[in-house]
């Protein structure tokens, strides 16, 4: 039967669930009995509930802060999260290791045990499935903030089951955003089905009076993603989640680097997500946005990295995004130490608080860019619905097949990979090569024109070299990758 964008019935959900829990021994924990889990989640106090705290932030118009962090050994992970809490985080993460993300639980087990033994992290995150509900609860009970799993897992069903049952009231991911940038050969149909399950699980809890947040991974490949593409993906994932009964939805965006474009992107992300949800009949969702500090290659020098973190925070603060994900001065080297992570939080939060009472003024340029992004998003979404004959799930599968949506630099073979982005002369991310991207001719002409202006300014032909230079540029200290800066 063809997969459709339709809420799983409770029977379908529970049947699938039985199988999911058998994937790894920790799935048979009695704490995963849904009524036990519901009882546990009912006792989560408001200040440790993601949805509650996001609503509060939105009401007060302030921006919350969350780092990324996860280490394999339980005690170390708890110590890490406590430290980040003290450093000023508003929400806590648990970044999951890469084996778990690929459901390679036995390799994760090996890495976890060896890390415990040699007292050096051999995994790049916290293997929550291997740890099981008990340990995850221990994490949750050791801190005073809401906890969320952050990963990049095409099939996160067991991970979602275990972490939600342990009191973690948010899960990051989505059928597209946790597949296309994070996998090579997982069909979209599979990740759509698996994330339908994850969303349905949250919908199930919602039906039982428990509010769990679902956050979408906005930055995708983190590398020169034109805002319309990531916003379109975000809106699609919001619609998919809403269909399964999710009520608390966070849509994400990774900083592009041009301040006007970034602020326009966050603003339209918020308003278009709400508008589309409304249009398709989901009228009672609580939508919030998350802004990711610069997600591409970082500069090596720690002072410069801190500069970039603070600059990102300035933009986020002015955009009035609900939440911001922070980076660290170790970004270009490897997983940060606890201390480096804390410093990133402190600098970021300082700036967010400082700029609390300020917004970015409306201007012609801002409004024009917002209209541009919204027009592009509409163009993409129209194509998706059209090719799916009105069904969003089929639309997504076919749109990616045909390259109507195309994500730059993605490893997945289910992504066409023909699009090439590049910056224009003011650093806005535009498109150099469209492949089959579902843009109207007008939109394409706009992009071509902008790229041509830059090429002319730089006195060189329009080619992939622009893209390559732009990939390196921020690491080297420029936004636009000018030819002269190549050897910086």
């Amino acid at each position: 039967m063809e997969l459709k964008n339709k809420k799983l019935t409770e029977t379908e959900f529970l049947e699938q669930r039985e199988k999911v829990l058998k994937d790894w021994p920790t799935g048979s924990d009695p704490a995963l009995d849904l009524s036990v889990a519901i009882d546990y989640l009912k006792q989560v106090p408001e200040h440790k509930n993601f949805d509650y705290k996001l609503r509060q932030a939105k009401a007060e118009g302030i921006t919350m802060i969350q780092p990324r962090a996860g280490v394999p050994v339980l005690e170390d992970h708890i110590r890490l999260l406590r430290y980040l809490e003290e450093s000023g985080a508003d929400f806590l993460p648990s970044t999951i290791d890469s084996y778990t993300r690929q459901n390679r639980y036995s390799e994760a087990e090996k890495g976890m045990l060896e890390s415990q033994k040699i007292k050096r992290s051999l995994l790049n995150g916290f293997p929550a499935v291997n740890h099981g509900v008990g340990s995850c609860r221990q994490v949750f009970e050791s801190v005073n903030l809401p906890v969320q799993a952050r990963h990049g897992t095409p099939d996160a069903r067991l991970l979602a089951e275990i972490t939600h049952a342990a009191g973690w009231t948010s899960n990051e991911g989505g059928a597209i955003s946790y597949n296309i940038p994070y996998a090579k050969s997982v069909p979209l149909e599979a990740s759509l089905s698996h994330w339908m399950y994850c969303d349905r699980l949250v919908g199930f809890y919602e039906e039982h009076g428990i509010h769990i947040n679902r956050e979408q991974f906005g930055p995708l490949t983190g590398t020169l993603v034109p805002p319309a593409i990531s916003n379109a993906v975000a809106i699609i994932e919001a619609l998919l989640a809403a269909e399964q009964g999710v009520k608390s939805i966070t849509v994400g965006y990774g900083m592009g680097g041009n301040i006007v474009q970034d602020i326009a992107a966050i603003q339209s992300l918020h308003s278009q997500t709400e508008a589309y949800l409304h249009k398709y009949g989901y009228k009672d969702c609580n939508v919030s946005t998350v802004f990711h500090q610069w997600m591409g290659g970082f500069p090596e020098d720690e002072s410069k990295a801190m500069g970039l973190i603070a600059m990102s925070s300035t933009v986020a603060a002015l955009s009035k995004t609900t939440k911001m994900i922070t980076k660290t001065t170790h970004e270009s080297f490897g997983i940060p130490t606890m201390e480096a992570n804390g410093q990133g939080i402190k600098a970021s939060k300082y700036i967010i608080n400082l700029l609390k009472d300020q917004t970015f003024p409306d201007s012609e340029r801002l409004l024009r860019e917002r209209a541009q992004i919204e027009n592009e998003v509409d163009s993409l979404l129209k194509a998706v619905f059209a090719v799916g004959n009105g069904d969003l799930v089929q639309g997504v599968i076919k749109a990616f097949e045909q390259g109507l949506i195309d994500i730059p630099f993605a490893p997945s073979r289910y992504n066409m990979g023909k699009i090439m982005p590049a910056r224009d002369n003011e650093g806005y991310i535009r498109i150099l090569e469209f492949g089959n991207l579902a843009f109207t001719e007008d939109i394409k002409a706009f992009h071509r024109d902008k790229i041509a202006q830059r090429a002319k300014f730089e006195n060189r032909p329009i080619s992939f070299q622009l893209t390559v230079d732009d990939v390196y540029s921020v690491g080297k200290g420029r936004m636009v990758g000018r030819p002269g800066n190549r050897k910086a």
Binding site: S98, L122, T221, G296
Partner: protein
């Protein structure tokens, strides 16, 4: 044209550097055989045998490089290409470690050249030219 096998090892999906390496080495005149991300040791070795490549350039960005690269030299020997050159680069271990120690660990595993974080492929081109001859 000399062949070079490139790819990203293990459960690692960092695709950007890989695409740039392909672009750069192709521009430099090599026949680049790109096996992409999420590649196993076997994928690298098979590609090298098939294309008679004398150099395998392993990328590892995500931190599990140490686990993923263990035993690769032995597998090369088993497969009959014991003398293939093995380079590794990217962010090959978890966190900010003393790179001299890290290099020793990878040299001991049988890698010929080991690059610290932030070594862009342009910087390694000189070594490649030297090792493969012109």
């Amino acid at each position: 044209m000399k062949s070079i096998v490139i790819g990203v090892i293990g459960a690692d999906v960092h695709a950007v550097g890989n695409k740039i390496i392909e672009f750069t080495l192709t521009n430099a005149g090599y026949n680049v055989v790109n096996i992409g991300v999420l590649s196993s040791q076997e994928d690298f070795i098979n590609a090298a045998i098939e294309t008679d490549a004398k150099l395998i350039l392993v990328s590892s960005l995500y931190g599990h490089g140490e686990i993923d690269c263990r035993g690769m030299r032995d597998k090369c020997i088993e497969a009959g290409i014991g003398d293939v050159l093995l380079y590794v680069g990217g962010n090959i271990v978890v966190g900010k470690q003393d790179f001299n120690e890290v290099r020793e660990r990878f040299l001991a595993m049988g890698f010929n050249r080991v690059y610290p974080p932030g070594t862009s492929i342009d910087l390694a081109l000189k070594d490649i030219k030297e090792d493969l001859g012109d």
